[in-house]
Symmetry: C2
Subunit: 356 residues, 2 copies
């Protein structure tokens, strides 16, 4: 299996990115990771890994890289030879079966939808791919989909996200028959906006009605009673970024608070507390799953967090490998197909417009 890895994407690229690729190919004999990016810099990193199976770490040179803070659309337009577009080019050409990047998420998504739509890379029956992010909960990891691929989602899109997210949660997170909840502002059937009402109706008359628990609220997310939460890409993206912001803010204020405390504590106590905090913060990062998959495309695409280290990259490559083996995509196609026969998207299902 050949997977394209954006070697230039990530806060610390290319160092930990290339290191993660080396670990991945060492773990998996039939894995080839195509390193896309600045040839010289990649060579320099590979030189630090003596004995790495270079035959399974080919390099595709890209003269440009998109910065983490660059405006995605502008950057894609200006930097034609960037490592993200080039990686998607390899996907579109069928040279690789999956793609992994810890780079500029906006650029990654824009590029994915562009390449995907044009190269007919969406799975049959899929209306729009969705990004599934992993959140922590008292019950373990949960999936929230979509967190940024689809800003004007229709009920039928959310329905598909529920199915795809559920299959992902089962196959990758190992949750048995994960239940699907609709992110909403209250538990009553008629709560929310036109989109949520239409989505609810669509699920209730579908083959997946049994898996669908109906509305859940923001505060239910971390309880983990529902392992797959669907929402449109705008809400999900705001939620994802606000969640990161909240955790950072909380740990920052926590550090302040404890710093004021430490001088009055025995040294070893201070060290133990610092250790605990580190331990705690790690619970909010799901490195073992590598990143957020873009569900609904042929093969696989994993979007990693910008701060990804070699471990996260290695795991993202492992997950991409598993997802590109087609077992998961086959299920998605089958389930969406079943649905599409059952009921075509209705006018109502399309309605997320204003009804004032």
């Amino acid at each position: 299996m050949r997977i394209a890895l954006d070697a230039m994407g990530g806060d610390f690229a290319p160092g930990p990115i290339v290191a993660g690729a080396v670990e991945a190919v060492r773990d998996q004999d039939d894995l080839v990771v195509v390193l896309v990016g600045d040839q010289e810099r990649i060579e320099a990193e590979l030189a630090k890994a003596p004995g790495a199976p270079r035959d399974r770490l080919p390099i595709v040179h890209a003269s440009q890289a998109i910065g983490m803070d660059e405006k995605p659309v502008d950057a894609l337009r200006k930097k034609r030879d960037n490592s993200i577009s080039k990686s998607w080019g390899l996907m579109a050409a069928g040279d690789v079966k999956a793609i992994v990047s810890a780079g500029n998420t906006g650029a990654m998504v824009a590029s994915a939808l562009f390449a995907g739509a044009h190269a007919k890379m969406f799975l049959p029956g899929v209306r729009r791919p969705g990004i599934a992010a992993i959140f922590p909960s008292h019950q373990g990891p949960i999936v929230i989909i979509d967190v940024g691929a689809n800003m004007n989602a229709k009920a039928e899109d959310l329905y598909q996200y529920g199915i795809m997210g559920s299959i992902y949660a089962q196959e990758i997170l190992g949750v048995t028959s994960p239940r699907i909840g609709l992110l909403n502002v209250g538990s009553e059937d008629d709560k929310g906006n036109d989109l949520t009402r239409a989505t609810r109706a669509l699920f209730q008359e579908s083959p997946w009605a049994a898996r669908f628990v109906g509305n859940i609220e923001g505060r239910d997310i971390y309880e983990g009673h529902v392992r797959v939460i669907i929402c449109d890409g705008f809400v999900g993206n705001v939620l994802l970024k606000a969640g990161e912001g909240a955790v950072e803010f909380l740990f920052a204020t926590l550090r302040e608070e404890l710093a004021r405390l430490l001088p009055n504590l025995p040294v070893d106590a201070g060290q133990k507390i610092a250790g605990s905090l580190k331990n705690l913060k790690s619970r909010f990062e799901y490195e073992e799953f590598g990143g957020a998959p873009l569900l609904g495309i042929r093969g696989a695409c994993i979007i990693c967090h910008g701060s990804s280290g070699n471990r996260a990259i290695k795991n993202a490559l492992r997950v991409a490998y598993a997802m590109a083996e087609d077992r998961i995509n086959a299920q998605i196609i089958e389930q969406l197909g079943a649905k599409l026969e059952a009921s075509e998207p209705t006018a109502e299902a399309e309605g997320d417009g204003p009804k004032s």
Copy 2:
């Protein structure tokens, strides 16, 4: 000034609610707090406050109370004599100038919009009132509006929320010329959905253009560089509840983590840490502002957190008093009026529908 207080609303009602009212009238000589709820239970609580100025603590009996977890719409329909509806009745009748409740938020909002719309209690020029919630940030408290009053907001609604939120932040939070940010999924002008694009356009051609910083992302919220953040009620409500959930989850895991640690720490160290945590958690509760105001109505309405203690209730009554003095509402009317002449809501400004 007469303010209606829902004595039955809140996790610990009526105890701390009545206690807060007693403190408030003791602080403010010309304040009359009308206690709405179960006469007997309120009397019993008042009896615990010997020497309370009973003449400024009249009781209006309501035989029913809506539980915190009851489904708002159902509950309002079934319990006609509930303390929330009765409080709004007093507002509509002009018997009180403000209303405060720590009860079922959904019921409070539904009741507010119903009573407000029917009794012409919206301020002139206001399209739809919005709920302004206070979030913590590195720069101090910030305002996010709307967090649940308006589920299908138009650009013109968000524009008004920006103005009202900015006036509130200045007058109540004491922020000088607070800047307004549009919650979005990226910083580029064309980011987001039809609603955000229309809102952005509306601000840029408005008298408030200088105060408007454009798009901000979820992770910027807690930085506090922008003190007023506007979004539609669906996004804001999900954000508010998810934020509460995240903080609770984080403190729960933090407690676990430290519990594992404490046995190995000297007792006083453990106590100091527990103290710090309490101190820290309090930073996430803005009791000094009492709760979230519903902006855009005549007089004032403060929706308090269900867990509000007497201090929060006292402060909510103080804020309600200040807001009902009309200085703030006069500014809102003036600013919205200025805008309404400048540009009537356009078709584009109305458009938050699907453009697929």
